[in-house]
């Protein structure tokens, strides 16, 4: 995490305490966030991220104290002050201090500048593994702070050399802990539509995919994994990442597929030309 961050009207030093112990975000996990990054120094799809952030907030009856334009201006100020051109940006909004652990009045709104995490190149050339776990995120269409399962499962995921946990609900595939999930059956790209976080990268990839493939946004059964020829996931910091193994089972031939490669390339080009 970079030195300077914004919190409730001030630019503060991230190495010093900034939050009261009775913040309802800390005592009760009551908050939402969004995670954005820059490409060529531009904040990638900021309007989409800010709209989603506002929507997440509304689901928790919270209001973002800064408007879109002011937030964008502040992010650029923080990037300059932290002397970075490319970075990850985290927006955080909690209910703020609480007297009774239940009610709140003055929200805590922060903007954090973080290093971009780069995944090993091998994952993109040879494909990644994911493991499944039955879990339905609370209020899944909102990016709320409740990531207990993702964090709790991280040691087991690492032990199994998996890049993500794919959450399932009964016989259905939902999403990964911080990524959306897709499969190809021949020329048809399939991805869950409901009970997931509507990813920004997901949206762009679907738009690109429609040029070349059939696209189905619908409930996806776990059993369909056996019929999939290719799979991949999308996320702000993973772009299009091929998936060649789910638990102990190969997807298709267990190699990065041609259709996924085309999407990886298309997305990379889209990002490269983003202004």
């Amino acid at each position: 995490m970079k030195k300077y961050f914004y919190c409730n009207g001030k630019i503060l030093d991230s190495r010093k305490p900034a939050v009261l112990i009775n913040d309802i975000g800390l005592l009760r996990g009551y908050g939402v966030f969004d995670f954005i990054r820059t490409h060529q120094g531009k904040i990638f799809h900021f309007a989409d991220h800010f709209r989603r952030f506002t929507r997440s907030a509304r689901l928790l009856q919270l209001r973002v104290p800064l408007r879109q334009q002011a937030t964008e201006k502040m992010i650029h100020k923080l990037l300059r002050k932290n002397k970075v051109r490319e970075a990850s940006i985290r927006l955080l909004l909690t209910g703020g201090p609480t007297a009774d652990g239940l009610s709140y009045t003055d929200p805590t709104f922060a903007i954090l500048i973080e290093d971009i995490y780069t995944f090993p190149q091998k994952l993109f050339t040879q494909g990644a593994k994911v493991i499944t776990y039955p879990h339905q995120r609370l209020l899944p269409t909102s990016k709320n702070n409740n990531y207990i399962q993702a964090i709790r499962l991280a040691p087991e995921r690492l032990r199994q050399k998996a890049v993500e946990v794919l959450f399932t609900d009964k016989d259905k595939i939902l999403e990964c802990s911080t990524s959306n999930f897709f499969i190809f059956k021949g020329d048809t790209l399939i991805t869950p539509r409901a009970d997931i976080l509507p990813g920004i990268t997901r949206q762009i990839v679907l738009r690109l995919a429609r040029k070349k493939f059939w696209v189905e946004e619908r409930a996806v059964k776990i059993s369909e994994l056996a019929q999939a020829s290719e799979a991949f996931l999308t996320a702000t910091n993973k772009f299009v990442m091929p998936v060649v193994m789910v638990d102990k089972k190969k997807i298709g031939k267990g190699r990065v597929g041609e259709r996924t490669k085309w999407l990886m390339k298309s997305f990379a080009e889209y990002v490269e030309h983003y202004r």
Copy 2:
């Protein structure tokens, strides 16, 4: 909240920032807590609360940095420093600062001293209302910080003049957002056993109840509410609180029942003699 609290080896002023912005408890809701109170200046059932706290922590792969005895000593020190004899005590443990939003090494452990919230006497003499909502808490046997639903539903609960939200899962009753739930059918006391937080007050009340009633700890169907003659809930700050209405339906005759009164009295006596 009282002025002085404990955090990672220090006694701090609760009106000043104490927590780093990148605490995983704040960014990801990754933490557990416990809530205790004093009676006659004694910490009520501290060993039970501390054991549960340790168990909640373990479910999140966290370790409580202070032992039971040292924690108890620190609570008494905080009570003296805050010049209070009777208080509520909150233990809080998060993963601590995180660089990547996923991993952590140095936990944040805090002890907060809070005012005791006293519920209106009317709720005990005339009985309370609860509203139902379908929700299964994450890792329900642990007291983790994920209280998004309880807080989100608070405005609607208050609008309906209800004291609690009773969570249901499919056709079953589980627990309230911060209380356990019980019904009487004649001389049989019935309360859910699985997928709930094992309340300390619940345990004591069940022990007292066994002297006089049949006790069944088992899955309870929502449809059984219609057959219940009495109902009540238990919590550290609510003791035994009679419930006379669930949503728009009366429990029994809609009055505080004799069996519930007996338990309220027994628990009050137990508390009075607690040393």
